[in-house]
């Protein structure tokens, strides 16, 4: 039985980690990070079949790829609190000589990271390649990928989306963080992409929506459904409806906090809204 309260406590701590990382170096991307805190936490804490420790090949375990690498604060927090590296290392986010680069990288050997991301639109292809390697290795585990909705404006995604269904890459669940925001405003305003469901379906994917993308129970139900739909000849897409900045009232539902750090006062307010649960680093 899943302990929802435990997951909620985990997510609250992740939110603290996000705003504290970004505040300390006065840079980074809190908005998208907060919006995906529940999803990535649920994936790592409840869904993914993960081995102890980390090796790059990740054979006999589920894999996760983050394509919208700018939400590194949430990724680092979840990885650290899932045991991949010491939580104290979150103190080094974006500092010189840190393994926690502004955008995630394998280059500094940070456990848990399997590809560099930040230049958008590339993660889907890499994740699909990893899924195909699993098939070659007769490894029946699942590959997960997360990308931003604005990121789908990059053309390489559509090469990958076309490829995954044509080649029946069905051990693969790609999630779109559908927060409707990008740097210059709402995605509808910047470049209206129309119906993503219709697009993915036209490309031969199974699509399901998680309407409450910041609700732990809804996420759990949605990913479990996606897992049941996977491994049946088609790739699966989750449209995860999230609220950017979720959990910090003044950051919610706006693109203003895409790449902006809170000041001291704002940090205090954000932390007050998310009391310490697992212990700050």
């Amino acid at each position: 039985m899943t302990d929802i309260k435990k997951l909620e406590a985990f997510v609250t701590q992740v939110r603290r980690d996000i705003v504290r990382q970004v505040h300390k170096v006065n840079s980074g991307h809190p908005g998208g990070s907060l919006g995906c805190a529940e999803f990535i936490s649920v994936l790592y804490q409840e869904i993914m079949n993960r081995k102890e420790g980390f090796d790059m090949d990740g054979i006999d375990e589920d894999l996760f790829f983050l394509s919208n690498g700018h939400i590194s604060p949430v990724f680092y927090s979840v990885l650290a609190r899932s045991g991949y590296f010491p939580v104290e290392e979150l103190n080094t986010f974006r500092l010189l000589n840190s393994r926690l680069q502004g955008h995630p990288t394998t280059h500094e050997g940070l456990p848990g990271i399997r590809m560099a991301s930040g230049s958008l639109g590339q993660g889907l292809s890499v994740a699909i390649g990893a899924a195909q390697a699993k098939k070659l290795n007769n490894d029946n585990n699942t590959v997960y990928a997360l990308m931003g909705d604005g990121e789908l404006q990059e053309g390489q995604n559509w090469e990958a989306i076309m490829y995954a269904s044509a080649k029946k890459v069905d051990n693969f669940i790609a999630t779109v963080d559908l927060n409707g925001q990008q740097i210059d405003g709402s995605t509808d305003h910047v470049l209206n992409m129309g119906s993503l469901r219709a697009k993915f379906e036209a490309f031969g994917w199974i699509v399901l929506d998680i309407e409450k993308g910041n609700n732990i129970e809804a996420i759990l139900t949605g990913i479990k459904e996606a897992k049941e739909l996977a491994h049946n000849g088609k790739p699966v897409c989750i449209l995860l409806h999230t609220i950017m900045g979720h959990g910090v009232d003044f950051m919610m539902g706006t693109h203003a906090w895409h790449g902006k750090a809170p000041n001291d006062e704002q940090l205090a307010s954000a932390l007050a809204q998310n009391p310490e649960t697992l212990g700050d680093y």
């Binding site: 054979i59 990288t105 394998t106 590809m115 230049s119 993660g123 195909q132 390697a133 490829y163 044509a166």
Partner: protein, 317 residues
């Protein structure tokens, strides 16, 4: 002067195909990816023998580079195949982030490099790819000169851990290096010994350098001819040893003088042994349609051009 015999002209891309065939039989981790150019890359035998290890990507090179990066996660050794232009310039950021910066063991295998692609013209004739690839940290850059060397290089790079750019060509050219040679990444091959000038050549220009040496020899000029198949890491030791003896150097490549082998050699020499150098290379220009031989003549990339460059550089000693 050593004599090199053309044992039967072949295209270097067929050397790649032959290397892939052998790898298919000997290394179960090798996988092949192609962006709708199976015939051009000569990989049909690999595909026939290992259909489960071949990935037809379609005309989607960016996706191909990403898929290749992903396939390494799980221990595969992906060899991507398309034209040099579409292997580099078109997908530079994918290679930079998903392969080079991500430390992925991908072999980027690029056919139809340079002017000798011929009649298709400048849209397909990349003369900037060596520069693009050698600037990427951690990338090994190889440009082979004939069928045998290309086959050997293809086999050798499977055992090298790290990203590699392997550049070869379309036309049928003399095959003169030994069959079943051992290819050592980063190790220059001394083809001729002389005292008056060093000729450092790569790719299709290696045979032209040997032809040039014959002409120079008849004029009483002896040349060191060094085949630099690996542009990065460069065998600086071999080049410096030769230049110490001859006091001047000609570099020869089917590439823009900006960013190519010549610049890499010039950097080494400027740091250790400043030496007069002439560049046989294209002069910051695009190519055009024509036969390979016509183009190599027009753009000054043949034995005749190497002879003239050698004569000129010797006067600058």
């Amino acid at each position: 002067m050593k004599t090199y015999e053309n044992t039967g002209s072949k295209d270097t891309r067929s050397g790649f195909g032959a290397g892939m065939t052998e790898l298919g039989r000997t290394n179960p981790n090798v996988v092949s990816l192609c962006a709708d150019l199976i015939g051009s890359l000569k990989i049909q035998t690999f595909i026939d023998e290992n259909p489960e290890r071949f990935f037809q990507i379609g005309i989607a090179e960016a996706n191909m580079m990403g898929i290749a990066a992903g396939l390494t996660i799980g221990g595969k050794i992906p060899f991507t195949g398309t034209f040099a232009n579409f292997s580099t310039g078109r997908v530079y950021d994918q290679i930079r982030q998903s392969i080079a910066y991500s430390d992925k063991n991908v072999k980027i295998c690029a056919s139809h490099a340079g002017l000798t692609l011929g009649e298709d013209g400048a849209t397909h004739q990349i003369l900037e790819d060596i520069g693009l690839m050698k600037m990427l940290p951690g990338m090994t850059v190889i440009n082979t000169c004939d069928f045998n060397q290309t086959k050997a290089a293809t086999i050798a790079i499977a055992d090298h851990v790290g990203p590699v750019y392997l550049r070869f060509g379309r036309p049928v050219v003399p095959n003169f290096t030994p069959a079943n040679q051992t290819f050592e990444i980063g190790k220059a091959v001394q083809l001729q010994e002389g005292n008056d000038v060093t000729i450092v050549a790569t790719g299709h220009l290696v045979w032209e350098a040997l032809e040039a040496t014959k002409v120079l020899h008849a004029q009483g000029i002896t040349a060191d001819v060094i085949d630099i198949h690996t542009i990065k890491p460069l065998d600086a030791e071999a080049i410096l040893a030769s230049v110490k003896k001859t006091g001047c150097v000609v570099t020869a490549e089917e590439h823009n003088y900006l960013g190519g082998l010549g610049e890499s050699v010039a950097r080494e020499l400027s740091q250790s042994l400043p030496t007069p150098q002439e560049f046989v290379a294209t002069q910051d220009t695009f190519g055009e349609s024509g036969t390979p031989a016509q183009l190599m003549e027009k753009y000054g990339l043949n034995a005749d051009a190497i002879v003239k460059a050698a004569q000129k550089v010797m006067t600058r000693k």
